[in-house]
């Protein structure tokens, strides 16, 4: 082999992520295009003009400040939910239990709001947040420990934990935390007592001239800070580094001395903590009480948003906003066109499906290009191991036949 030459490392610092991000953007735009196109087909089949429909959707968010405020307000919970999903996903795990973790978190946050009423406002809000986080973490700990100790697959256990959470919270509302003023028995208005004002998250929208009806609160900045923290943990801290190693190659991580179980439990707890804050916006910036049948589905939507954002914190913030724009479009769609507002959910579904498919295809292409380039660098030497061709020799010209 040749001795070390400067040329072999000459472009060491040319960051490959530049072209990766370029590729990702291209894939995202392609996916958006496909979704919009397929959506147009449905719209045309419905006898409407796609241009009218899409501009109606956009006008819902960008028509006035309140529309935008609504989008921003709803992004917060989605960001928390998607971050919760992404944290586990980086570690090679699928947390489908964000839904359950978040409703348990909200039950425990509601408990804090209704119990520690003697605290001054900032402390009460803080205790609400802490209890939300703790509730989510407790609920996430169960599948994490089961996975590490018994090998029970987290996908199934978290689905089951969702079912248990729904029943548990239903019981909490019917029992311990029932709203006393409405009288007993099964009541359609079954819910907890109203939270004290001191437990509520302050409004943020009025600083920007957004009506308080948009419910834009401090939850959004909290969510963005959370995204930054998650980015820092995953990219700049040991836990994130170990998590990515465990997610990509458990065997190599283990042989390198990383404790897989510890990493998995930590990730699940982080995920649960984030999940525990998903409902804060809805309960503590909007409704002011915990209603029965509180299964908003944000935990599942978070999975879609996480994939739309390719599990990167920055991507997730933007994906949550895009999702919010679409959701906001429901109302304006109904006002301005004859297309049922439910078209939006179908459009969201098309978007997420085309995103996952496009990324899948893009990943394969990127992969084969990397291999090709590697082969060039190799001076056509032994590129075999990367593609797992078990038998692949190096080219040789020697051909002495031994006869």
């Amino acid at each position: 082999m040749a001795t070390v030459e400067a040329t072999t490392v000459r472009d060491t610092h040319r960051p490959e992520w530049v072209e990766n991000i370029g590729g990702q953007l291209l894939a995202l735009l392609t996916a958006l295009g496909i979704a919009v196109l397929l959506g147009s087909v449905i719209v045309i089949a419905y006898g409407e003009n796609p241009l009218v429909v899409y501009s109606a959707i956009l006008s819902g968010s960008f028509g006035d400040a309140n529309g935008l405020g609504y989008v921003l307000a709803n992004a917060g919970p989605l960001i928390f939910s998607a971050l919760a999903v992404s944290v586990c996903f980086k570690g090679g795990m699928f947390n489908i239990g964000v839904e359950g973790q978040f409703i348990v978190g909200m039950a425990s946050a509601s408990f804090a709001a209704l119990t520690f009423t003697f605290l001054p406002a900032p402390l009460l809000v803080l205790s609400v947040l802490v209890f939300g986080v703790l509730g989510g973490m407790v609920w996430a700990a169960v599948p994490a420990i089961l996975k590490v100790k018994t090998g029970a697959h987290e996908v199934v256990t978290t689905i089951m934990m969702n079912g248990i959470a729904a029943s548990l919270v239903a019981w909490v509302i019917r029992g311990p935390l029932r709203y006393e003023d409405i009288g007993g028995g099964f009541n359609v208005n079954l819910r907890t007592d109203p939270f004290p004002d001191a437990a509520m998250i302050p409004d943020l929208g009025h600083f920007f001239g957004i009506a308080s009806s948009a419910r834009l609160s401090w939850v959004l900045p909290m969510a963005i800070v959370a995204a930054a923290v998650v980015w820092f943990i995953m990219r700049r801290m040991r836990l994130g580094y170990e998590a990515r190693a465990v997610g990509a190659s458990p065997g190599s991580a283990r042989a390198a001395g990383i404790s897989i179980g510890a990493v998995q439990v930590k990730l699940f707890l982080l995920s649960g903590a984030l999940a525990g804050l998903v409902g804060i916006q809805q309960l503590f910036a909007d409704q002011g009480f915990l209603p029965a049948g509180y299964e908003a589905g944000i935990g599942f939507t978070g999975i879609a948003v996480a994939f739309l954002g390719q599990n990167s914190p920055v991507g997730i913030v933007f994906a949550a906003l895009l999702w919010g724009v679409l959701a906001r479009g429901e109302t304006s769609l109904q006002l301005e066109t004859d297309v049922p507002r439910e078209f939006i959910i179908i459009l969201q579904g098309l978007l997420i499906m085309s995103v996952v498919v496009t990324y899948q295809v893009a990943k394969r292409r990127l992969f084969s290009r990397q291999l090709r380039r590697a082969a060039e660098v190799e001076d056509l030497h032994d590129a075999e191991a990367s593609v797992d061709i078990e038998e692949a020799g190096e080219p040789g010209s020697s051909r002495e036949v031994d006869r």
Binding site: T157, I159, G163, P340, I345, M353, V356, Q360
Partner: protein, 321 residues
Amino acid sequence: MPLGDFGAAIGIALTYFTIIYLTGLGGLFSERSGIVNIGLEGMMIVGTVTGSCGTAELTPELGLPWGPLAGILIGAAAGAIFASIHALATVTFKVDQIVSGVVINLVAIGVARFLSTIAFGQATQSDSGQPRMDPIDIPLLSSLPWGLGKAFDGISPMVIVAFLMVIPVWYSLYRTRWGLRLRSCGENPDAARSLGVRVSPYRYEAVLLSGALAGMAGAFLAVEVNLSWNEGQTQGLGFIALAALILSNWNPIRLMGAAFIFGFAQAIPLRLAHAPIIGAIPPEFIRMTPYVVTIVVLAGFVGKVRPPAAAGRAYEGSTGI
């Protein structure tokens, strides 16, 4: 007699059994072929709205007993069509099966509302009091003493269909070439491919069948049980079916037992709320039993389950053998 409540509870349990068993069989086909299907709930939802719609539209044309039957068949067909999205994504495009399943569940809600708006003019429910099939009394069993006969009084013909379903399912899986090949795709697709069995068509067939069965279960719920469509009426039964499937160790005969037990758990709060001991437990805790049982089983505390070896993994092709 006190057993009257018990009989009634069994009657309700049979209804839930039908939903859970049909949906669970759907999951069985899909996962046996190697495709994890957590989109069963969504496929059921599509079955509910289309089944209800089919019944409402076709009953006046076909007459009373045939309208509901047509509705149920339409629900099954719609479930299969909807499931083709899952098949396309997971088999052809090799999208992660869990992701696709989650998306299926999300989209189903929108599709249901969309269709409901078109069919019923409102997004979340149909007109109530749609026709159902003529209920039947099972001879002998319905005349059981002490009120137990109530369980077999006036039940839907679909309950019997669900019970009989075990025969063709078991036979097709274990006694036909198709079943052997389907199962080999779920256990070791490389082995199947190396023997000339093309994996994708079997996985497509299994996923479509899965959608048809879940759709049929959903349609049964809307047409035969609730007599109308309401948003949210599936109440997570698709996930309970998934739980039953795991408990059954992916076996159609054991799935019957699991589906019945979980169906009975659903019935307790409805009919045995005042029974001794059971009545003292908050109904919410009884409702969570299927999930708790599944976790306990998965954790290996009781017995051991073994999913199809290749379930969840996309099949990449044969060159890597």
